[in-house]
């Protein structure tokens, strides 16, 4: 019999290559890369700069507050879009079938997508933070910049799972529409664009339970703005949503496996 010693390719170089490929795939689609990097900056320029010096809470300028809002918006945006659309497109083009026939473990593919999404998310912050500093005259303590950055990156992980679930549940042509229908309204309802007090009452009633609301609170708290409840509660709710989204993603993934690969 053939020997079983030859075994498999080393995982780390495979993961590096796969991540590089995932990154290039997204980077070379301007509809994704330009939009993710510059849309938050553009919103910041339109909404944030004009009144950036206005104090909305003691010691908190609108410029800083809106920076936290846009950081949350930008990062969640990358997670949902990069995952949702690329997974839906690749399913549509049956790339997953060829990948499945190779000796690459499926988790390498998923992990490389997560790393790529986090890299893009970090890049949006690298563009947004200096812009807010220069154009919005936002001055924060070094620890506040750091807290904002790590909280939005860590807090974005549940949204990876949401993007993944959408990618498996919707088709390549409907993914963009589904994402916009879910993501944009909840971003508004969670107060990322303007204060919740301006929203209709029924939305104000739902808003405090939306995942982006808790994510937003983590951002606002990082720059010293007062928020409802404690940061621990925000993390717990977000973790709960994370579990929910991962369960949904796993179910969607299994459903697809059952259809295509049994």
């Amino acid at each position: 019999m053939a020997s079983a010693i030859v075994a498999r390719a080393p995982i780390l170089p495979m993961l590096v290559r796969q991540t590089g490929a995932e990154f290039l795939k997204l980077w070379r689609v301007p509809a994704f890369s330009i939009t993710s990097l510059f849309l938050p900056v553009m919103f910041y320029a339109f909404i944030g700069i004009g009144q950036s010096k206005q104090q909305i809470f003691p010691g908190v300028s609108f410029g800083a507050y809106f920076l936290a809002s846009m950081a949350v918006y930008a990062v969640a945006n990358v997670m949902i879009f990069s995952f949702g659309i690329s997974v839906a497109t690749e399913r549509g083009q049956k790339m997953d079938v060829l990948m499945r026939a190779t000796p690459m473990p499926p988790w390498v593919y998923l992990l490389s997508k997560c790393i790529t999404a986090l890299a893009f998310a970090a890049m949006t912050l690298v563009v947004l933070f200096p812009f807010a500093y220069v154009a919005g005259s936002v001055r924060l303590e070094p620890s506040e910049w750091f807290t904002l950055a790590y909280r939005v990156l860590l807090g974005s992980i549940p949204f990876i799972a949401l993007g993944f679930a959408i990618g498996y549940l919707s088709g390549p042509n409907s993914a963009v529409a589904v994402i916009n229908l879910i993501y944009l309204p909840t971003a508004f309802a969670s107060g990322l664009f303007f204060p919740k007090q301006l929203l209709p009452q029924f939305i104000q009633n739902i808003a405090p339970y939306l995942p982006l609301h808790f994510f937003g609170q983590l951002g606002w708290d990082a720059i010293g703005a007062p928020t409802d409840g404690s940061v621990t509660t925000d993390w717990l709710y977000l973790a709960g949503y994370g579990v929910l989204f991962f369960a949904l993603a796993l179910w969607a993934y299994r459903r697809e496996e059952g259809r295509k690969f049994t």
């Binding site: 498999r8 290559r17 690749e90 049956k94 790339m95 000796p103 049994t262």
Partner: protein, 296 residues
């Protein structure tokens, strides 16, 4: 010889449709095997079972004695599938490098690209490739891991004659390195040129498994081809004809007694032009093997 791939009484149902009805197949290392059959015969299903992309409803599929979804088994196999996509926004050499990283002992990148004849397109994006170039890229991805066994599902589909000819040469070149090649095709001349063994599948069953020569010899006699404007099916009744296909006005039949068949047709006043009588080839054998089961 150790077995590269094996199906043991494998069946596969998709809902109510029975795609494979108990197929057994042993493929030894170093063999070049062509699986032939009409569309929907079960060729792609057989390949999918051997690759672990699908699970048999009953029976068993094995690669190197392992479960085909075992990554140790897959590390020794290269694959070209029908209707599978690759990222449009990667360059040829980037995606070849990506696939090389999946395998323990890959080929040098440029060699894989050269084997597929894509040297001039190495820096092109996938989306800039023509259909034929894409097929060649899939071939590069299939061989870049320097696999012991190559599975090719309809590798030349959609190619022109010249493209197919040079592609067949590339596959032959790989087989000449002593590797195992399993390909499905409905082009008989491909099977004849490449394979030393032809497995004919029809309606989920293996109906022949032999060398191209043996399969040809199963069909004794001559092939008669002609064009006729006034031939109807009834005219051939009672004649010593084994198989007939009529497309438009082009008639093709197999017989051991071409002279008496033609005499009878002339007597009936059938118009015959562009007459050709020759020895039966693999395609005739194929039609003769499958037609009694699947009449057009």
């Amino acid at each position: 010889m150790p077995l590269a791939a094996q199906l043991i009484d494998a069946t596969k149902k998709y809902g109510a449709v029975e795609a494979l009805k108990g197929v057994s197949l042993n493929i030894e290392l170093g063999e070049v095997v062509a699986m032939l059959g009409p569309n929907g015969a079960g060729k792609t299903t057989s390949i999918s079972l051997l690759l672990g992309l699908r699970k048999p409803t009953s029976g068993k599929a094995q690669l190197f004695g392992l479960d085909p979804s075992d990554l140790n088994a897959r590390s020794r196999v290269g694959v070209m599938l029908q209707e599978s996509g690759i990222p449009e926004m990667l360059r040829v050499r980037e995606i070849v490098d990506l696939f090389r990283s999946y395998y323990p002992k890959p080929m040098v990148r440029d060699r894989a690209i050269a084997m597929a004849g894509l040297e001039e397109k190495a820096t092109a994006l996938v989306k800039q490739l023509s259909g034929g170039q894409r097929q060649r890229l899939y071939f590069a991805l299939a061989v870049c891991g320097d696999p012991e066994v190559l599975f090719l599902d309809e590798p030349t589909v959609g190619m022109d004659v010249e493209g197919r000819r040079s592609f067949i040469e590339r596959i032959a070149e790989f087989a000449d390195m002593g590797r195992t090649v399993v390909l499905t095709t409905h082009y008989l001349e491909e099977a004849d040129q490449l394979a030393k063994r032809v497995v004919v599948i029809d309606r989920g069953v293996v109906i022949a498994d032999a060398s191209p020569q043996e399969i040809k010899s199963k069909v004794a006699g001559k092939r008669v081809r002609f064009t006729s404007g006034n031939l109807s099916d009834g005219d051939l009744e009672g004649l010593p004809v084994t198989t007939t296909t009529i497309t438009d006005h082009r008639v093709r039949l197999l017989t051991n007694q071409p002279e008496s068949v033609l005499r009878e047709l002339f007597r009936k006043g059938i118009e015959i032009s562009e007459l050709e009588v020759s020895g039966a080839d693999l395609e005739d054998a194929f039609i003769s093997l499958t037609s009694h089961k699947a009449p057009e």
